[in-house]
Symmetry: C2
Subunit: 160 residues, 2 copies
């Protein structure tokens, strides 16, 4: 795939984090797509990402396992829908590996990485079924959580 697919974004249903940073697009892409790097930043502390599998092709497995300070475990396996190497990744938890339906689905998420003069424009989006799921995601801490995770990503790539 060399072009972004047709993804709809509706501010009434969906959420977005938009950040500009002075790190290279290449490093942001690596942080998202190399599991050993993703595990270092993906979950706001004190949660940790303790496993990650990413088969970087349409239909490929995207699994993350997150563990909380009280022993909580969120182990989630979704599906890569599309990608443009270096700049765009789309995945969902409505399908499992090989596009197999899971019978549920909370979000489809996209990560868009665009070069700027000084670094990277980073746009991460979560697309939901309805306004209720959007509100639920906000209440779960979307803005703070995705922003803090991205801060961790930036700090991590600076250390590479």
């Amino acid at each position: 795939m060399t072009a972004k697919p047709h993804v709809l974004f509706d501010p009434a249903l969906d959420l977005e984090l938009r950040r500009e940073v002075d790190v290279s697009p290449q490093l942001v892409w690596r942080a998202w797509t190399e599991p050993e790097l993703l595990m270092k930043w993906f979950t706001p502390a004190p949660w940790r990402t303790t496993a990650c599998e990413l088969d970087l092709r349409p239909g490929g497995r995207f699994r993350t396992r997150m563990e909380g300070p009280e022993g909580e475990v969120h182990d989630s396996t979704g599906c890569v829908l599309a990608l443009v190497p270096g700049s765009y990744l789309l995945f969902t938890d409505a399908l499992g590996p090989g596009f197999r339906p899971l019978g549920s689905g909370f979000m489809t998420a996209s990560v868009e990485i665009t070069p700027t003069d000084g670094g990277t424009l980073y746009v991460a989006r979560a697309v939901h079924k309805d306004a209720e799921d959007k509100a639920r995601h906000e209440a779960m801490g979307f803005h703070q959580g995705w922003s803090t995770a991205f801060d961790q990503l930036v700090a991590m790539v600076r250390s590479l």
Copy 2:
């Protein structure tokens, strides 16, 4: 997209119709992807397909409305996941247009159209969440239904 995506097929969970026919791959592709043609064969009689919208790109809308002899209506909107023009179409009812999660999902379906010496090898597959959904689909009449619909497709394209 120029290559088929990574789709898993598990005989314990999934269903397949495989047919060889002496009509051209081009006509089979047209019958599947031109809504006015699809409406002529998609539903085994006495059911009818009374509406179809197909936006033939990843993320595009795939809607079909079927009506039964007693006034039953099944109106379903899903999402195109991938395609190779002329030979491969993948779609799901787990996502709506633009890859938006629907919160449910019964199947991901693929249609594969391969040229043979005398015509076309047609392979249509339904990929399910689990063996229970496979059994439900069989009980709904998958084999008879998809086979009869394909007979209608062949008869229709012969008349073009």
